[in-house]
């Protein structure tokens, strides 16, 4: 997969993306050559522990990485045939917020505290849609109603602190959807919210992207969040994609030992008897050179070869098509969770 040409059908093709932080004697290799495709209207889940490179890789796609701390070393990010990494800052700015938009983790800090939400909505429309102020305000009301803000018209002049966390995230979604982007990236959109609110926000995002045919990249550390949302899932570990499959296939027959570990560590209601198995050890220090597979030290299936050579991301043996895994000794693919569990997790 990593060496293949970008799929012309795909909305987004990421190839060999590599991102480092810092310079001199302390360089952190945050993303180490990842490649994947995203079809128009598809929802892709990116799953992994914090620090695995899932947020960094998507900020790299948006070209929002902090400068000069972060550097995209190599790779390409092709949106509709156009390599975003080749664009000038100004060209990229025109795409951000218009063709692609992003929702962040913490709705408490992601909205500007000194501006009424009306302004924060209309400024996107004025920038990309060249709407006049009054037209932008009308559209802002529509958007707020769309994301389920009650009495939207009366709340335009309110400030972020006058909204609850869930409501603020709805406003963030409204801002992101303002220009009908083809691609929406949501970075842990529900992590900072109460559990009851989480489901509502996910449901809102699901209907919004389905109705508009928007492609969605949903980044999360929570396998429960992606289960009911994504058609396909990338599992990331230490800056690599270690497994990629459709949601059913991944939950049904996980092949990478890390994915197996993740699924085993989810608390489940139907198996009350101490089946929780945490993954031993810590993720590796990404500022050090890693030889071989970064998961080797924590792996229950480890071989000598794993410590010498990083396995490529390839079609898993005896698995469904396009189930890719980067492992020299993948798990058997035993069903860890009963079928239909994904929807149970998501509810």
């Amino acid at each position: 997969m990593s060496r293949t040409a970008p799929d012309p059908e795909a909305l987004l093709s990421v190839r060999d993306l590599e991102v480092t932080f810092g310079s001199g004697d302390r360089v952190v290799h945050a993303v180490n050559g990842i490649s994947y495709d995203l079809a128009p209207g598809e929802t892709l889940g990116i799953v992994g522990e914090s620090g695995c490179g899932k947020s960094v890789s998507s900020l790299a796609i948006m070209r929002l990485l902090p400068k000069p701390a972060a550097r995209v070393r190599s790779g390409s990010v092709i949106l509709e045939g156009q390599d975003l990494l080749d664009l000038s800052d100004e060209e990229m700015r025109r795409i951000r917020g218009d063709q692609m938009a992003m929702i962040f983790q913490d709705p408490m800090t992601s909205l500007n505290p000194v501006l009424p939400i009306e302004r924060q909505l209309t400024e996107v429309l004025e920038t990309h849609r060249k709407l006049k102020r009054s037209g932008a305000v009308d559209r802002a009301v529509e958007l707020l109603e769309l994301v389920g803000i009650p009495a939207a018209k009366n709340r335009l002049r309110d400030y972020p602190h006058q909204f609850s966390g869930g409501m603020r995230q709805r406003v963030m979604i409204a801002i992101a959807l303002a220009c009908d982007p083809q691609l929406l990236i949501a970075d842990e959109p529900t992590t900072a919210l109460d559990v009851t609110i989480q489901a509502q926000i996910l449901e809102l995002m699901r209907t919004a992207v389905t109705e508009r045919g928007t492609a969605l990249i949903l980044i999360t550390h929570d396998l429960g969040v992606v289960a009911g949302m994504a058609q396909r899932i990338n599992v990331m570990y230490a800056g690599h994609i270690v497994e990629r499959a459709t949601t059913d296939e991944l939950y049904g027959r996980p092949r990478h030992p890390y994915t197996v570990g993740l699924l085993r560590s989810i608390p489940r209601l139907d198996e009350g008897r101490g089946e929780l198995v945490p993954i031993q050890g810590q993720p590796p220090d990404l500022s050090r050179q890693i030889i071989g597979c970064p998961f080797a030290d924590r792996c229950f299936n480890v071989l000598d070869r794993c410590r010498e050579e990083m396995p490529p991301l390839e079609q898993a043996p005896s698995a469904a098509d396009e189930h890719l895994v980067a492992c020299w000794n993948p798990a058997e693919g035993e069903r860890l969770v009963p079928s239909g569990f994904e929807s149970e997790l998501a509810s």
């Binding site: 700015r93 800090t109 992601s110 500007n112 505290p113 400030y159």
Partner: protein, 335 residues
């Protein structure tokens, strides 16, 4: 918002009361007897007693205080023990000079300090930033009187391009005093040349007085912008594809200026104190030098009224600053 302003105004009352009491007691603590000051060392005891009585100094302290407060409430601040001039008149005549100087200084400080702070913040970690930080640190370390003398030496003596003292060239311009703001009075008198001359006289004192506030404003702006640059909502603004200009102005600066506004208010106190030194060096007929002379001459009436009025101005400026802070910060406005 109205509630907020009313609450702040109510808070002023105990402060002002305390201030009058403090100043009153303090002036009575000063050594020396005003009667001696007025009559001289060799006055007879009867004459001394007469003067004390006429000044009300023979009455118990609390009565003197109430008398003083009563006068205050009617806008009567008494007369100078020494010149017998009305203190309010003297103050009003000199105060515009101090305001003119302080305004020029603070406008210079803000106009240069905020852009420099933003500029260095956006280039943090570079040599431009390091240089700016060192310069601003030197700026806050130069005493006004030393800077004033050096400016005077360079721009009025070595290269005589600016006047070295006074508020206007009295030989060439006769400006009738109307507002006592020299620049304004020159315009009223229809003397554009006088206006320019008044501005030229302002340059050096304003530079001397404004440099420390400039450095302070620059430092706080830099720190504040750096804080805001790391905020999530700035990333959101970039994710929206807004123009850099919009992100800088609407998202970064509006938030970063909140602490700067407070600091500008606090600089007023320094300006009023610094005015004493600046007015001395540049022979600027303002309030600062007037109060200083009163302290050395033990002119109670001027000290207590002058200090009270300066303090009142400081308190009012900070009230205005607090209100504009609340106006800029919706979280306070709504609480």
């Amino acid at each position: 918002m109205t509630k907020f302003i009313i609450r702040r105004l109510l808070l002023l009352i105990p402060i002002l009361l305390g201030l009058t009491l403090l100043i009153f007691v303090f002036t009575r603590l000063l050594p020396g007897d005003p009667a001696t000051t007025i009559l001289g060392e060799r006055a007879t005891a009867e004459n001394m007693a007469l003067v004390r009585e006429s000044l009300g100094l023979d009455r118990p302290l609390h009565e003197q205080y109430f008398q003083y407060m009563g006068g205050l409430l009617q806008g009567d601040l008494g007369r100078s023990f020494i010149t017998n001039r009305d203190v309010v008149d003297d103050f009003l005549q000199r105060f515009p000079a101090t305001i003119e100087l302080s305004l020029a200084a603070i406008i210079f400080a803000i106009a240069a300090g905020i852009p420099l702070g933003v500029y260095t913040a956006k280039r943090r970690g570079t040599w431009v930033d390091a240089g700016g930080t060192i310069l601003s640190l030197i700026g806050i370390s130069i005493p006004i009187f030393f800077l004033g003398l050096m400016l005077k030496w360079i721009f009025a003596i070595q290269f005589p391009i600016l006047p070295d003292s006074g508020r206007i060239d009295l030989v060439n311009y006769f400006i009738p005093r109307v507002t006592n703001f020299m620049t304004v009075d020159a315009l009223i008198a229809g003397e554009p040349g006088g206006f320019i001359d008044a501005l030229r006289h302002l340059v050096l004192p304003a530079l001397a007085l404004g440099t420390i506030p400039l450095a302070v404003i620059m430092r706080i702006t830099r720190a504040s912008v750096i804080d805001v640059l790391n905020e999530d909502y700035v990333r959101t603004a970039h994710a929206k594809g807004l123009r850099d200009r919009t992100v800088d102005g609407r998202h970064i600066l509006r938030n970063a200026l909140l602490p700067v506004v407070t600091v500008i208010g606090l600089q007023t106190g320094l300006l009023l104190g610094g005015a004493i030194l600046t007015e001395t060096i540049f022979t600027w007929g303002g309030v600062g030098r007037w109060i200083y002379d009163a302290v050395t001459a033990r002119d109670y009436q001027i000290i207590q009224s002058g200090v009270l009025m300066l303090a009142l101005i400081f308190v009012l400026v900070n009230l205005i600053v607090d209100i504009s802070y609340a106006f800029l910060n919706p979280r306070i406005r709504h609480s």
